[in-house]
Symmetry: D2
């Protein structure tokens, strides 16, 4: 049940980096949602490689082909399935990885779990490429949520130690901080320039860097989510840790809240135009697992890309001995920019599931 998620909307992701195709089935979408294919393609292109000078040069159109669930671009209530054909498959480049696992990747754990039957080519089912189908599902959910007044925007909050402007936690409309049209998804282009330098520096060193993605969701009604294990935080967390390389997640003030006093961290209530709002938003829009009507804000820690050109220490399964490893081929020295729309996509899937 690994690659299936959700309650009312169930998302099932399939494919390996070099299988015939990758894809996604979304079961439970309401009938009658119009899918704007052009906007979906634009959304997909934000994740696609080759968008900036840092990403891998593997070129793929990544245009989703819809197999089912749409009639004239409108959902018909049946499960929606879309695939992307892999044009560049079954290369022999990866045979080496079956014997010498890449540090920081799932090569070793997959070898042990699947007893050597796993698809090693390109990382198989563990490849970052599998975020493309997530973006198909999420891109559709984003369009659906827009019709309900819900907006989701993410940006790079930090690369290495260079920080972007933070999103105002009291923001009314997430589209105000939409950076999807930029080649480098930051609020402050000056900060973005420094981030790009940090990425470049890592690349020069045959190395990689990680970073933090911040995401805001606005327009949510009060009362989404349930207590204990089915709160909005639980639901988002269960899905967001499915994005490769995510190693941390926080809501609202998150870890910083641990250094505040209660009187600082509590969000005071006030009446505004006949409804209850908070004066601050340290809680990130969630109390007791339930939305309070303020923006939901979360941040993801993305580890540095494990695939680096530098020689690394590993082992050889066949030789049962230590062995040096040099990873050939081009890899993103920083995956964070391409992960920004993925964060939006996964958030959209979870929120759409909650809204139905």
């Amino acid at each position: 049940m690994a690659s299936i998620f959700g309650n009312k909307i169930k998302v099932s992701v399939f494919g390996q980096s070099h299988s015939a195709a990758i894809g996604v089935t979304v079961d439970g979408l309401p009938a009658g949602i119009h899918v704007d294919q052009e906007r979906l393609k634009q959304f997909m292109s934000r994740r696609a490689p080759g968008r900036d000078r840092f990403s891998t040069q593997r070129k793929e159109a990544d245009a989703p082909e819809f197999l089912a669930g749409l009639v004239d671009d409108v959902t018909c209530g049946a499960p929606l399935t879309a695939i992307i054909h892999n044009t560049n498959t079954r290369s022999g480049d990866y045979d080496n990885l079956r014997d010498v696992p890449r540090p920081g990747h799932a090569d070793y754990t997959a070898q042990m779990k699947y007893h050597g039957f796993q698809d090693v080519a390109g990382g198989g089912h563990f490849s970052g490429r599998l975020t493309a189908p997530l973006c198909i599902a999420g891109g559709i959910c984003l369009q659906y949520l827009e019709t309900l007044g819900v907006k989701i925007s993410a940006h790079i909050a930090r690369i290495a130690d260079v920080s972007d402007t933070a999103i105002d936690p009291m923001i009314e409309d997430a589209s105000e901080v939409y950076v999807g049209d930029k080649a480098f998804p930051v609020l402050s282009d000056a900060a973005g320039e420094k981030m790009m330098q940090a990425i470049d520096a890592a690349r020069m060193d045959l190395d990689s860097v990680g970073g933090v993605i911040e995401c805001v969701i606005t327009g949510l009604p009060v009362g989404l989510g349930d207590p204990m294990f089915d709160g909005v935080e639980n639901r988002l967390a269960a899905a967001l840790f499915g994005i490769p390389a995510v190693k941390g997640l926080e809501f609202g003030e998150g870890f910083a809240a641990t250094q505040l006093r209660g009187s600082q961290n509590n969000d005071a209530y006030t009446m505004q135009d006949g409804r209850v709002v908070t004066k601050t938003n340290h809680a990130g829009g969630i109390l007791g697992g339930i939305t309070n009507g303020m923006p939901v804000i979360f941040r993801l820690a993305i580890k540095p890309t494990p695939s680096i050109a530098k020689e690394q220490e590993s082992v050889s399964f066949s030789e049962q001995a230590d062995k040096k490893l040099s990873i050939v081929g081009r890899h993103d020295p920083c995956i964070v920019p391409r992960a920004v729309p993925v964060a939006e996509a996964v958030a959209a899937i979870v929120v759409a599931d909650l809204m139905i």
Copy 2:
């Protein structure tokens, strides 16, 4: 489905702060597990109030009464249910809260979600008291896991800005850092003393503080967890955010990994006594959602207790106007020490579910 969690082991928590009883059903435990009632009581006592000078003075034995699932203290394969009677129920102290929600609590979101029918007394189902049944379930899972060689230990990693010694991520046996016998669960008693001063200072100010809990799990086999949405991180996250006041979660290096280079963060492999191990453990024992045999390490951000004696700004539903609120009664100025066994308990439930 809010208060039910798990796949093979399903945990269902019930009760409100002032209902007749609180309790838990654990469905799916293997038959034949012996429950050491004495050790379970000791474990429960770590969470119980009144253990140190900081916690609430509400006195409760919190001794679980087993209704089903045990025959002569051995699991019989049927669902196990245990309850704790609430002796101190239905007080009228809380009527005020129905009208004036406490900032930082679920009072407002519950009011909106349940249309005023929620149990306001003592926070109802949102009360921290509901972590007691979690500790029953978790305490049993801990005993079960021990028979499989799996150990789980948590400690306070930080209160406000005072840090404890960190757990060595290469630790072989979590019981080496077991602090459950201490009145204040830290590794460094000197640090603990400073933490207590920070808590005292907050209390003097009629305020509260938060902190970070760190938890380590050792003895796990390689290969637990599944890719994407059913990884060990996803599963732990989905449960851990069910602990009240948790606002952040990170695995291994977590957010700190975002400031490392790939070459620093990747854990090199080496052969040791015929099996593959890593030389470092930045990954916190999980790659691609699957355990790699190294210790699993996570940290939880616990926000400062929202219930503070200081006057706060809120609103009155009945008056539809802003209203000051002073919370009467004694409340923990810091919930972190009592949350330490809860972190162990929830981790144990998730891991037991994965191990079966």
Copy 3:
């Protein structure tokens, strides 16, 4: 996850025949449902033993004690838990059953599955007694459904070869065929008299008989249920086979439909007062897994009570040899009458889950 069922409303049943208590947790009920305790007790009494001259003489009040989820008899949104204390527990009468399994019971399968750790007393978790908590959950759901205009009535359709009058599949309101006030739940008292004779005859022979229960649900909206695996039939089936002794289930014409031509079995449509209805109801109110607004009708095959006084052939685990078995104690020669409210209860749980 054996004893937990449902999507939005999750029902978790716990207890063994001779454990301290049996009970149920219902998670997901909307807040604000008033529970009429008197009516619930009346409903429970229909399942209780000792109601007629055929049932076991074990006397139990079976009055539910609510531990959580209700405030002044109104649901508060938190999980609702109710228990029934077992007054008559841990008798030594059953030691024999650990060694010599009763034919037709779960003694042998439980022995194999739980490796001898199962609770053998009174059938443990497999006892028909566990239908009492199902009736608590179902009784509340029935009251809730009534507020939505949904009615559910079951009756004994057949005992051995004596048939009751069938329910008119075009019935508008199920309460017209409510037989819950009768000591023997049939539509035709004359048929009931013959059924009682058949039961008596079996009892005289130290034997038992089975029968068929028919249940009708009216007031359902069009459009409940989902295609394929989440249809109304699938959902009802998954729950109804959880009632002990159920070995068959059919909807509408059911097995009889296999002897009709399509032109006979298809239900013609017609307009009636501005809405579409069918002229007949062979489909039992469900097409493609989805309700069509007509009454949902199903029938359950209940096997003859396996506990009979007659000597039977079994084996002795300890002797690893064939062994005769004589079951001592009083047992129902026919369980069907007491299973009638259980059928209503389980149907109510499933329908309430679908309606929310």
Copy 4:
């Protein structure tokens, strides 16, 4: 969540009768299962139309195209996805059905549930064509189960009032009654001949007939399944009612057990070669929801094909009035023969899920 089923093995079916493709994702299959493509095609061909003189003339290769999850025909642990392209799509023949629903079909319920957005062409997602992907998933599970010694065989037990020889409930190996190589899947060819005459007679009358499918599963270990809601009967029922046209299901003696005495229906135990077996198998291999090691036997009631050439009474949505309907095109006068492998397939999916 309609079209997704299972616990450890999750099957997600997608597609509409006239969408670009139909297909299935199977998540959770163990790595290392070899898929014999030739045998899979043979299995698929048993369900395919045009096999005998009764089925529709729509010609389709129905050869599955594997998109993911296989490497050199061996499962790799990643979700397995296979599709079948629909060659004959988007015909305008069905526009009529949007306005005038076919009696006995899901046209009306889909119209109401999906507000007119459903795919009407060919019955959309409700089409019997969707059983083809079920057969892909089930065909693979059958191959997997064979390696574990589990065999599954179904046959037509009855068409209209013509019965086939029943399967011996004490059969040791289901492959002894495998009828998959026959054009008409019955045990007694003489009975089969009469069945074909009954089908022919219905066709001549522009009508259709239904029937009963019987299925046996051998080689199961003792102890599969869990009490109450997760028993083998519950699990099979929840899936089998997903096969279009199934209106009834019984295990072992099923409805016939209701006319037996307990002493007749109970299966006596005896020791045989050091293990416990039953002397008869009225229980159909399941007691308390748990397998007892004897063959599991179930029967499905299949209603007569609702699509008949005879004129029928329906309504026009647009005219809000009664309207006659004549269904054009060729349709199976009896769907039962083609449903036989589907029953095996669905049983195999459920059993594989239980065995893992």
